[in-house]
Symmetry: C2
Subunit: 325 residues, 2 copies
């Protein structure tokens, strides 16, 4: 365990404990917003303090009236340089909110904007318990266990610290061949929809906007599995591809229903089913909160092989970082 990370987490969790909390906001952009969103889902299920997710500029310009000195604002930017997220964190702090920021870069503008700073590791060598999701989950379950002490939360933290990394590695290995087949089979698709619900929805969103649109220039849209039947399902046809992520928790009913319908009319369904994951080591009572993380690692490998079969590296951009915008 990285002792610096542990100390940063301890300080942030104690700060939350020391305050009266009226509401909690998660604020970030794009992939970082999607990273934070599962934590909002967990809080929604576990505690009666309202919480919400905002894209950074929407948060600043909308300026929710409930943002005040009883708010906790958790923000995230990988580089720590995303101007909207830095500004949103400064804005929240100016309103008296307790600010906690996650970033890979120490001493970045975001790092200096937030009252409590959480560094996370990144890259192929980084261990899961020290990367963005690992730090976020240790923070959220740490806050829960401090505010409402419960063995369940302690076991969730322990699951991250002792088992998550190996779970990721085993499931990556188990889905390697499926990832290669996906890359080969779907390399010529001009549009690929993603679909999920509950805690997995933000993964469908980030796969659509970051992996497909941003990194592969493939048209996409994340469809909520419950919303599918209220409009989007009419585009379903034999040649329209859908990546469907099925969770293992309380919202799986929606995923099952969407999958059952979709497979009747589309011949191009890519199913990521959390029930097939090897979750050994993750405490059984919180596995529904972890399957989305495993699905994310599995899908990242799918994207990697899609990019290889398309000869379009995931690192290529035409606008991002290339010009002012």
């Amino acid at each position: 365990m990285n002792q610096e990370h542990a100390q940063q987490l301890k300080a942030a969790i104690e700060a939350v404990k020391s305050r009266e909390i009226g509401n909690i906001y998660f604020v970030a952009c794009g992939g970082s917003m999607a990273t934070l969103t599962p934590a909002q889902y967990i809080l929604d299920r576990e505690i009666d303090i309202p919480s919400a997710v905002y894209s950074s500029n929407e948060f600043i310009l909308r300026s929710p009236k409930a943002l005040n000195d009883k708010s906790v604002v958790i923000s995230c930017s990988h580089s720590g340089n995303t101007p909207e997220t830095v500004e949103a964190t400064e804005f929240a702090r100016s309103k008296g909110a307790l600010t906690i920021s996650l970033s890979h870069l120490v001493d970045s503008p975001l790092w200096n904007a937030a009252e409590y700073r959480l560094h996370y590791d990144w890259g192929t060598e980084a261990r899961a318990e020290e990367n963005n999701y690992g730090i976020l989950y240790r923070l959220i379950f740490g806050i829960l266990n401090t505010l409402y002490p419960n063995e369940k939360y302690a076991r969730a933290v322990a699951s991250v610290e002792t088992s998550l990394h190996d779970v990721f590695e085993r499931n990556k290995a188990n889905t390697l061949e499926a990832a290669k087949a996906f890359g080969s089979d779907y390399k010529r698709e001009p549009i690929i929809y993603t679909m999920a619900s509950g805690i997995n929805y933000s993964l469908a969103y980030s796969f659509a906007i970051c992996l497909l649109q941003e990194m592969q220039w493939i048209h996409s849209s994340a469809i909520h599995a419950g919303e599918y039947f209220h409009g989007p399902f009419e585009v379903t046809d034999y040649d329209v591809p859908f990546i469907i992520i099925k969770g293992i928790g309380e919202t799986r009913l929606m995923d099952d229903r969407a999958h059952d319908f979709c497979q009747k009319f589309s011949d191009k369904i890519v199913l990521i089913d959390a029930e097939t994951f090897d979750m050994e080591g993750i405490s059984a009572e919180v596995r529904n909160y972890f399957a989305n993380l495993v699905a994310g690692v599995v899908l990242r490998q799918y994207a990697q092989y899609l990019s290889e079969f398309r000869g379009h590296p995931l690192s290529v951009r035409r606008y991002m970082w290339k010009m002012d915008y």
Copy 2:
């Protein structure tokens, strides 16, 4: 004015006033969810009681812990028959929440599930102040004016009651030629993105999932104008169409930024700019909360002409109402 509607609104507003309110949920599916969403935006800006929007099944299965007898749950189903929304309303009521439902059909299952029922008119003859948005806005500004009496809110209600219908008609007439040109120019597009932010975002969402995907079988995705720069903008190219809705309020900065960038690289931008609307009769201080409604009427006419030039009526479905799902 329809006296029955006025009485139903009065009863619902008084019920809200009589309770201690901890939070407010808006719950519906698809187009009805998008209809309710602007009200959440208005509450976010105007009061410090947290509020949130959920798709009905997500609401039931997620079962937010903050849903209790201090909650107000506002739901909507046009037919009053949407099973998920009926169940969500019953679920909310079972948790002790105050339930208010909007529906076009009296004595529908939703009508019977909710404690307070608001009927709205529908069809080509319906007046704006009595249709879905008219009733919703009279409810929301009525609640605001009862909880926090303010001339601004009274003028907002008066704007709906006296002027909204004519504003809709005038702006429809003003954009008729533009709607026809859109239908002709975009009739062969296989994918059309929509983009907006703030109070207009839910209109981008409903236009994407209801008008384009459901009613025209055209691929689409609603992009949040702030999120555009964090992934989606990489799909922008000279031949990729975007319908961009620009509001007149506090979030217009995001719309301007997205439009400025998008028009550099796409030759197919359809701009719906609320600054060009004739808003005479709507109280100046709340026009930012009404421009989305006008944009919706304008865009509905765009969809009408798109359907005519494509020979694909807006009423055609292949799955909806045709089978069990």
